[in-house]
Amino acid sequence: MPPTSRDRAVPRRVAGGRRAEMLAPFVLVAPAVLILVLLRLYPLLLGVNFSFTGDGDRDGAMVGFDNYVDLLQDPLFQGALRNVGLLVLLLPVAVAIPGLLATFIYLRVPGHRFYRSVYFFPAVLSPVIVGAIFNLLLSFDGPVNSILGAVGIGPVDWLGDPDVAMFAVVGVHVWATFGMALVVFLAGFATLDSALLDAARVDGASLTQVIWHVIIPSLSRTIQFVFVTTMIGMLTSMFGLLYVMTSGGPEGSTYLPEYYIWIQQGQMNRPALASAASTVLFVIMLVVGLLQLKLLRRAGRED
């Protein structure tokens, strides 16, 4: 018997329904993908492409890897990359400070409530204000040097000595931002099993032993999270402080890639070279980010 029109219609409707079901996720994610491609990926590709063109007289001409060769030969950019390395080395200090302070607050040192609010206070200040305040404090004839002078230590040119300036700026950055990490640590402590701490105390563990054997292992995921966010913060949000406090100086000792990009693009009128530098910065961030993701995943498996 030949199939009736009714019999034929059923599988077609089912097939149509299935197709719609299959397409639905794509339609739903399409707006997000479009926005990502148009506003993120496309400008990124444009930037990468610009980095292969010339500046000035060679404007618009493809120059291959010339900008990258220029970059690698530029002592200023080399210095900026070295400073990135320095930031990575200083990262444990930047994480340890809020970690330790949060530990003390958690262990309820006298006045812990007061400290908790005061520590967070600088996190709401703009880097420009922080920079201006510390410019005054750290100036050669400023109050910090006056205090040092009063106790018989010679004045330090905090922002004028190339060996000291980068540490001064990083120190101020840590001061201004550790409140945020402190809050994250305190949130981590909220999930800590207090029975473990009590057990450690009953067993007669010292403060250092408690921190080393109980608190740090229990907070490993929080610590990793703070590592990632602090690293990103150091690489991308120190521009304001650098701009206000040292302008990359003295002797170019406080350059970071971000500041270098800004100078080349705006002051030196070399946008293609700046694009090459931002591509390099992007790759650095990508590598650092992926490494950290890998670490997090491994830590997740151990759990």
Binding site: L41, Y42, L45, L46, V48, N49, F50, T53, G54, D55, G56, D59, G60, A61, L76, S139, F140, D141, P155, D157, W158, L159, G160, D161, P162, A165, T246, S247, G249, P250, E251, G252, W262, I263, Q265, G266, Q267, M268, N269, P271, A272, S275
Partner: protein, 422 residues
């Protein structure tokens, strides 16, 4: 692996699609319409410039009643970054304020030569060279920018020196400084080299006392011999200001604007190499030191045969963008912005020594009279002749000289390389 290959293909395709872009756009669209001109500057937002802008607008309105003029004041510290972005997009203002020298010369590709429009103003205004490149003029000067050596006569008096007779040789100058520091505690120079611009002021102020007139002219003409003993001498003197403690302490961490000026104004240093446009100049110093006690001196002579003169150029000037629809109308606006009436208001309110040398300045005290009197024999400032890249390097090297981590020979070697590359 397959997924990665797909992503790689997407990336390559994207790069290929964007393959015809360039970092600096060459589009030719206009910022304003036929009936509107957009002006970018960093002055029109200041109260002291209000009357100047008003007079210029009124003058322009007489010639072009139907054209609207819009001033957009940008913050100076981001001015060239914003302008760079506008230039790259090929859409920007019609009339643009520039500093003379490197800043405008680096960007002449985006500007309209003004020679055919400003012929009548040639004689009346001074400082055109700072806005010229390759024999063409790209902006009309509004102010003159130079580097007079200001000194505090009160400190001279307290040290027992004759304030009417400042030193004419370097040895005498250093000896005077020693006396001043000993008697009053004030340093010789108020120096701010945090941004590395102290050396620019120093090079320009001292060069005419160190280089022979021939060497000076060659320098300005682009024939710079970085190995000449006299060029080295300038950097040796700079180093000496550090080693002999002539500068205020911590010069590398003192900002020129406004910290070093504050050091001079508060009497903590006897000399400062300042400006003559509208900041860090006689009018600012008059307020604190008083017009009678503010002196201006020529560079002390270092080598025989040198003839000290006032180093100055065109300070700021207005240029016309390449993409403007009617260059003649835009050039007319530039002419209004440099008209005598407008400039008179700029001098009176902002205190700038304007490019119009016919304006009477006799009411403002002896320092201004000395500066304006020295304009006739003055020559272009040596640092203005250098490219932005060379200036940037010189700033860092100057900090190294002050901290003692580099030798003068190394400095001139690096500068020679940067100067030819730039």
């Amino acid at each position: 692996m397959k997924q990665r290959a797909v992503w790689a293909a997407v990336l390559v395709a994207g790069l290929a699609l964007t393959g015809c872009g360039s970092a600096t756009g060459s589009g030719s669209s206009s910022g304003g319409s036929d009936k509107k001109l957009v002006v970018w500057d960093w002055k029109s937002g200041e109260a002291s410039s209000a009357q100047y802008v008003e007079k210029a607008k009124a003058d322009f309105a007489k010639k072009h009643k139907d054209v609207e003029v819009e001033f957009v004041a940008q913050p100076f510290d981001q001015y060239y970054t914003l302008l760079g972005a506008a230039i790259q997009s090929g859409k920007g203002p019609d009339v643009i304020l520039f500093n003379g020298g490197g800043q405008i010369r680096d960007r002449v590709d985006s500007l309209q030569p003004l020679d055919e429009y400003v012929g009548e103003d040639r004689q009346r205004l001074a400082g055109w060279e700072a806005f010229a490149k390759g024999g063409k003029t790209y902006a009309a000067p509004v102010t003159l920018q130079g580097h007079p050596i200001y000194y505090n006569k009160a400190l001279y008096e307290r040290a027992g020196l004759d304030p009417a007779k400042p030193a004419t040789t370097w040895q005498e100058f250093v000896a005077n400084c020693a006396t001043i520091t000993q008697k009053t505690g004030a340093k010789c120079f108020a120096q701010g080299n945090k941004e590395g611009i102290g050396i620019q002021f120093f090079l320009s102020a001292m060069a005419s006392g160190v280089l022979t007139p021939q060497e000076y002219d060659n320098w300005i003409a682009g024939k710079r011999d970085w190995n000449s003993p006299n060029v080295k001498k300038i950097f040796e003197l700079w180093k000496e200001t550090g080693t002999a403690k002539l500068n205020n302490d911590g010069a590398n961490s003192t900002a020129m604007f406004n910290d070093a000026f504050a050091v001079f104004q508060s009497g903590k240093a006897a000399h400062i190499i300042g400006l003559m446009s509208d900041i860090g100049h006689w009018k600012d110093f008059n307020e604190f030191i008083t017009p009678e006690k503010l002196g201006v001196m020529m560079a002390p002579t270092v080598t025989s045969g040198a003839t000290p003169s006032l180093p100055y150029d065109g300070g700021i000037g207005y240029a016309v963008a390449k993409w403007t629809k009617d260059p003649k109308v835009a050039a007319d606006l530039v002419r209004s912005l440099t008209s005598t009436d407008a400039l008179k208001a700029f001098y009176a309110n902002a205190g700038a020594i304007t490019a119009d040398t016919t304006i009477d300045v006799s009411q403002s005290g002896p320092a201004v009279t000395t500066i304006v009197g020295a304009l006739k024999t003055g020559k272009p400032a040596p640092h203005v002749a250098l490219s932005s890249k060379a200036l940037d390097l010189m700033g860092r090297l100057s900090q190294q000289l002050l901290s003692g981590s580099i030798s003068v020979d190394d400095v001139v070697k690096q500068m020679a390389a940067a100067d030819t590359a730039g």
